[in-house]
């Protein structure tokens, strides 16, 4: 059992979301940085998609009421278990009465608190993710508030070294000088003027404060314009879609995006880079780089293979250690 000590309208329970409910109009949802959530779950020998807490509002504090193994992954935020400073992407067992404090990230934007067994909240439409717009999933369909108590699905401890253990290569975060995002051309790519396509690829776009789980608005010096006005029928859109509304400034659809839209689409961010965008802070520059579909498939395959290898390595390591 854990108790949330700091409330906010932004910290939510997330797993891998509801990709199969999109045909009902339900947002895909799920962790914005799925790799970070996966790392936390692997460290705790959980199913890779077990539900954890996505933290974007700091400081975040939680008290453990029972002995609980947990991991903190994702953004590089100073993490203290009482007086003990925890390294990045680290798992450890808390004793009853201990408090975990996460302070504002030094790099990145989102941290994930995963617990041994995964959080025990009801599965709604196939997932435990909070859908804030729909008001379901997670804890009563809402963000976590001070005083909320959460328990885990399985035995809450795992045999770990007393000081815990962590990943030698932590979750990659965007460099301070800007986030490089790889994209594929989308349906209306070729309807933009050649100058606009050049601007799209060469400009340093800035992430505006209008950035949440539904979408990230970017701002650049020059607006993107079409060679002819377009009136599109409503069509399905996926997280990663870069829409360009009439004002000419791009909006990148994120995990809680609407499932259908009508704005022209210039590009789609490849899935492995969408998590980098989710770790980008407001005001930071963002650069787009177009790649081919074959290159994108290779990157996606490599990420899947890397994660499988890491899971196998951690499992082997755990069988080889005595504590």
């Amino acid at each position: 059992m854990i108790e949330i000590l700091t409330g906010s309208s932004l910290n939510t329970i997330q797993d891998f979301g509801r990709p199969h409910a999109m045909a009902m109009g339900v947002a895909q949802g799920g962790a914005m940085d799925r790799l970070a959530l996966s790392y936390g779950n692997l460290l705790l020998d959980n199913p890779v998609d077990a539900a954890g807490i996505e933290i974007v509002f700091f400081p975040f504090r939680v008290r453990f009421h029972a002995e609980t193994s947990f991991a903190v992954t994702g953004a590089a935020c100073p993490a203290m278990l009482d007086d003990l400073k925890l390294p990045r992407d680290w798992a450890i067992t808390a004793r009853p009465g201990q408090t975990l404090t996460l302070r504002a990230p030094e790099r990145g934007a989102r941290a994930y608190l995963t617990l041994r067994g995964g959080l025990d909240v009801p599965s709604v439409l196939g997932a435990r993710s909070t859908d804030l717009k729909g008001g379901f999933g997670g804890l009563e369909g809402r963000a976590l508030q001070k005083g909320d108590r959460l328990s885990c699905l399985a035995a809450s401890t795992l045999r770990l070294p007393a000081a815990g253990y962590g990943l030698a290569r932590p979750c990659p975060l965007p460099p301070a000088d800007g986030t490089r995002i790889r994209v594929l051309p989308a349906a209306e790519h070729d309807v933009f003027t050649p100058e606009s396509l050049k601007t799209f690829h060469s400009a340093a776009w800035t992430l505006t404060p209008s950035a949440n789980r539904m979408g990230y608005r970017l701002e650049g010096q020059d607006a993107l314009v079409l060679t002819q006005p377009l009136s599109l029928f409503s069509h399905g859109i996926l997280p990663g879609t870069v829409q360009v509304p009439p004002a000419g400034q791009p909006i990148i659809q994120m995990m809680d995006a609407n499932t259908c839209g009508g704005y022209p689409k210039i590009a789609t961010v490849i899935a492995p880079d969408l998590r980098l965008l989710s770790q980008t802070v407001v005001g930071a520059p963002v650069h787009f780089e177009t790649i081919t579909r074959d290159e994108a498939v290779q990157i996606i395959r490599r990420e899947a293979t890397d994660l499988e290898r890491l899971a196998a390595e951690i499992a082997t390591l755990r069988t080889q250690l005595v504590f």
Partner: protein
């Protein structure tokens, strides 16, 4: 001319729109969606208005093979009728519940009474489901009422609002921002995540609006 566009590495958007909305094309879109939904290598299909989004796992399935499959299934899809239920939506029009009624009437060059009549006399069809959980894009709107969307969306439109926009009719399944115009309000619950079938309406259903008594 049907076009297939990339929607990332694991998504394909089949766009069959050719001028105004076509019922025949829409039935072929649904048939393509149903055929693809039986395949284990297709994650999901999302029918839009004369278009279809198909997703798959790009780490497992070759995107060009999926594109080939989509084209083949679409080419052979027939515009067969789908089973359709009729759902009646009772609406309180105008006043505090339909703040744009006067604006829509002016746009259509009708009285408010005639505008309501134009809205209730239509037989609408659920062409697509999306944007919000349980939101339906209804085709069959009287062309005189086809007012363009607002230039800037309202930040808050209440659940149950009966709306029109972009040539379609719809009903808000939850309170959310929207650029559509508000004609009235219904008490029907369009979406409940905890019902066995969360959405009230299915693709192909016929919808009629009536004045709430």
């Amino acid at each position: 001319m049907t076009r297939i566009h990339m929607a990332g590495a694991g998504g394909l958007l089949l766009d069959a729109a050719d001028g105004p909305f076509s019922d025949t094309t829409q039935r072929r879109i649904w048939a393509t969606s149903r055929a693809l939904n039986t395949r284990p290598d297709v994650l999901q299909t999302i029918p839009g208005v004369n278009n279809l989004l198909v997703t798959f796992d790009a780490a497992q399935t070759d995107p060009s093979a999926m594109e080939e499959l989509l084209r083949t299934v679409w080419t052979h899809a027939s515009a067969e009728e789908v089973p359709s239920r009729e759902i009646v939506v009772p609406v309180v029009y105008g006043g505090a519940f339909g703040e744009d009624l006067a604006l829509i009437a002016r746009f259509a060059n009708l009285t408010e009474e005639e505008t309501i009549e134009a809205h209730t006399s239509g037989r609408y069809s659920v062409a697509a489901i999306g944007a919000m959980a349980g939101f339906v894009y209804l085709t069959g709107l009287d062309p005189r009422l086809a007012i363009p969307r607002r230039d800037s969306p309202r930040l808050r439109v209440e659940e149950g609002a009966v709306v029109i926009g972009g040539g379609h009719a719809g009903v808000m399944p939850c309170t959310s921002p929207s650029g559509w115009h508000i004609l009235g309000r219904t008490d029907l619950c369009l979406f409940d995540a905890f019902r066995p079938e969360p959405g009230l309406l299915r693709l192909g259903d016929t919808v009629r609006f009536v004045r709430a008594s």
